[in-house]
Symmetry: C2
Subunit: 181 residues, 2 copies
Amino acid sequence: MAGVSFSRVAAEAGVSVGLIQHYFAGKDELLRFAYDDTVRRMSERVGARVREGSDAGLQVSQVLLDSLVELLPLDEEREIEYRVRQCLSTQAPHHPALAEVARRAGGDLLGYVTMAVEDGRKRGEVDSGVDTVLAARMILATLQGLADQVALSGADAFSARDVLRPVVATVFAGHHDRSLS
Amino acid sequence: MAGVSFSRVAAEAGVSVGLIQHYFAGKDELLRFAYDDTVRRMSERVGARVREGSDAGLQVSQVLLDSLVELLPLDEEREIEYRVRQCLSTQAPHHPALAEVARRAGGDLLGYVTMAVEDGRKRGEVDSGVDTVLAARMILATLQGLADQVALSGADAFSARDVLRPVVATVFAGHHDRSLS
DNA sequence: AAGGTAACAATACGGCTGTACGATAGCGGG
DNA sequence: CCCGCTATCGTACAGCCGTATTGTTACCTT
């Protein structure tokens, strides 16, 4: 992030600095575009997968787990996404435009997961007493922290799926074993 | 983070630029010191609290929950710690010295939580079949993601403790209700 | 064919950055 | 007294950054 400059972006893209200025009014707008583009793609991916799985009548917990694990920086492409999201969301507090993107992205994802949990409740996979938003927050928090752990210690240090599964299973009780062994 | 410069640090500290150079060989060393100092203090705080609680014979799950929630950016001081940690750990992949600090900090924290879970197992609060390291990873992942959520939406948007509690309870089964309601 | 417009390049410029260097002042030991 | 050491400052400098400006193609429209 410290190394992102117009000249470097231009060089890596194989174009001139002037061209980037032609399309983006300033550095802020360039970063905002990169951030928005990345989080939008991530959000749409998980949204689509949840919808597909729901339509296909698959087990909600399984679909959710798959969709979320797919966001982790487990391959090079997702790692780039992760880094963009991480760097820009860190910068967000100081920049209103970035903050708004961060809020919208967070809200979208929370909405998708909440809907999935509600869907699970309708199908009897989730106890009726569960606070769906709180449950979604819990699952998402674990996912996010898991992303950090994977990014730090590498994709092969441990099984991210095995860490996330019990948390999802806490919400979707009754259809899975709850063991951590 | 983009605004951290020698001149700005000097101004805010009320000293000259030269003085900072006198104590730190370069910017890298200055940042590394700030990062190391912050994570060390955080790690020691949770380590001490876990040890105290363990000696006092309190319920391990309760002590652990308290110690970890205390790391979240719920007041201004912790928010500063959070931001330092976040910014510098983001920068870590490109800078070996920072990466080493990040690894050590992560390892320390994982060690403390793992020990707490093992302690809970000895006392019968945790099932004997549980993978303690995996359980610690899960709890820490949720904590970390929770910190991000709190930093993004503010300390009053939801109860962070209520989100973390069920995850801790998944590990420390039998002594707590497991409900999310 | 003319002309307008969009794509793209080159360069110039003021500002800020990290770092290097020298100066000043206090101060304890010989 | 003077020497070395440390704390502290001021400033100079080369380099990179973001931005503004100007120029050059090439295409589309009429």
